[in-house]
């Protein structure tokens, strides 16, 4: 018991140490989080009326971010598959950081749901046993289960791997393989269930297309890995973690395929709606052409399309994707493109025109932006702290009692000493 407490404080000590840049970064995030919390306090007090949401468009930027982040979280599996199933070594070394992205993303998802609730204190009503979960009828109940399950699986995987490393041992694959295998369909399920959440109601023709779930998955496998591409390069630069170029290029290649499928599915949808020309084409028309002169989202959607197509070309051609400048441009374009397309670009046209044909042009207002930024800052903080703790464990700098020193790679220790002498 004493050991655990000691180790806990050791970890705490670890995450509070850093250079000035680290402190500035953390302070910056804290400021954003504090602003977010104060805006949320106002929302709690006055109600969701301080947002731009109304009965006509009853979900907005919160749920848009939620949707995007479910995709990011699900995409961790894109690393798990080559890492564990095909034993692709370069990716296996970084899969841990991918799983941590999933943890941060799911946490943000939960926060985005929480800030969207009119009665957040009653959230226990949707828990099983204590509440009155409408399972299996409500897809939102399914989502609660799959999201928390996914969070749990990833936490378990990460904690176990870190624990083994921290006592200086490799993790036993035989022990966690079932969990890893489970995490693959589970990642697909969080995305499928979230897609079905929109998909299941004929009241919203834009969502009620069977292509929605596959499109969800395809775009998730673009945005998640693209975020990781950027993060991994930052990690590589700022820490002693070594990430092979090969791993990054492999990810980029996978993103290219996913984006290809994503664009194809979008094309299929555009063809079906515009060629058949039924009244159900209105939401798509609103997105790309504007409806009755209302065109708030049009420039954004075309931007997203241009970004996605450009990134697709960049990632498709090996020469270009293996140049770090174009690779990073492509990654940023994909993140932004998918953020628009799968965030507001997916949620809002479900409500425009609304079920009685009214067009209300939703656009988030200041409190929504501040709360959204606050949650993103919280996600960034969580990921930073996870890294801050995991990286030294990973490199062997942080070891807990009970470990066998012999198991540590001597090269790591040498490297560690070298770094230390630099200070």
């Amino acid at each position: 018991m004493g050991n655990i407490i000691k180790n806990f404080f050791k970890s705490l000590w670890q995450i509070t140490r850093g250079d000035i840049k680290y402190y500035i970064w953390i302070a910056f995030l804290f400021v954003l989080i504090a602003l977010g919390i104060s805006a949320y306090a106002r929302q709690l007090d006055d109600g969701l009326i301080i947002t731009a949401m109304r009965d006509q468009v009853s979900w907005g930027v919160y749920i848009s971010n939620f949707t995007f982040l479910v995709g990011v979280a699900a995409a961790a599996v894109l690393l798990v598959v080559p890492a564990y199933l095909y034993n692709f070594k370069p990716i296996k070394e970084i899969v841990l950081f991918g799983e941590m992205v999933a943890i941060a993303a799911i946490t943000m998802c939960i926060l985005f749901i929480m800030v969207d609730l009119g009665q957040p204190l009653r959230v226990w009503h949707l828990l099983p046993v204590v509440g009155l979960m409408n399972f299996p009828s409500s897809l939102l109940a399914w989502d609660v289960i799959v999201l928390s399950g996914y969070l749990f699986i990833n936490l378990l995987l990460v904690l176990y791997a870190l624990y083994r490393l921290s006592i200086g041992k490799e993790y036993k694959l035989s022990l966690i393989l079932p969990l890893i295998l489970l995490s693959i369909p589970w990642a697909v399920s969080i995305h499928t269930v979230t897609a079905f959440l929109y998909n299941g109601f004929p009241s919203r023709p834009f969502w009620n297309a069977s292509i929605l779930a596959p499109r969800f998955l395809a775009s998730a496998f673009c945005s998640g890995p693209a975020i990781m591409l950027i993060l991994f390069q930052i990690i590589r630069k700022l820490t002693k973690i070594e990430i092979e170029d090969r791993a990054l290029f492999k990810i980029a290649e996978l993103v290219a395929y996913a984006m290809g499928i994503n664009l194809f599915l979008l094309g299929a949808e555009v063809f079906k709606e515009f060629y058949s020309g039924s009244i159900h084409k209105a939401p798509l028309e609103y997105l790309y052409l504007g409806l009755h002169g209302k065109m708030r989202l049009v420039p954004w959607m075309w931007t997203a399309l241009v970004f996605n197509v450009t990134a697709f070309v960049i990632f498709l051609i090996p020469k270009i994707r293996e140049n770090f400048i174009t690779l990073n441009i492509g990654a940023v374009l994909i993140v932004l493109g998918v953020y628009i397309e799968k965030g507001m670009g997916l949620v809002i046209p479900g409500f425009v025109p609304d079920t009685l044909g009214e067009i209300y042009e939703y656009w988030p207002v200041r409190p929504e932006f501040i709360i959204t930024i606050g949650i993103w800052a919280f996600g960034a903080l969580l990921y930073t702290l996870l890294l801050k703790f995991a990286i030294p464990v990973y490199t062997g700098e942080l070891r807990f009692k009970g470990g066998e020193d012999a198991a540590i790679d001597p090269a790591m220790i040498n490297k560690h000493r070298r770094e230390k002498s630099e200070y």
């Binding site: 006055d46 109600g47 009326i49 301080i50 109304r54 009965d55 006509q56 468009v57 209300y360």
Partner: protein, 179 residues
Amino acid sequence: MNRGNAFIFTLAITGLFFILPLLSGADMKGKTKEEQKDGIPKFFIPKAPASENFPCSKCHNYKPADKSKRKLVLYHTDIVFKHAGEQQWCYDCHDGDKLRLQNGQLVGFEKSYYLCGQCHGTVFRDWKAGIHGKRTGMWNGEKLYRLCVSCHDPHQPRFKPLEPKQRPMKPQEIKLDRG
């Protein structure tokens, strides 16, 4: 049934010349065999609205009426007739203090629906079933029916236009109001 009267007044759709209550309300107890046969609803019907000219015999006992069809210039000039085009004349429906059906039978004003029902058979049927016209009261019990003339001016039955109530607020007009 004071509420019934209140409703009539709030309606304010009828022509404005109905003022005095007239005759006794034909409540369920007073139902004739004939009415039962006709499927006249066994519910309360508010009293027929009355004209200040009623009873007709007030004047027509002294002044024998000129029954020829013509434009009225001396009396009843306030009655604007917009019903069934040019085909109709006072004595098609009125006879003394009663109403006259096509077969010559006379009915009281409280049973004016028989008169209206002669031409408006489908509406009459709907009215009896509770589909035409307004009902108040209990959906599973006593209902308050209205006579045709409670809502329609028999001389110009088309409803007068109304001022609509305020439009709902647009979503962008709905703002936080701390006051």
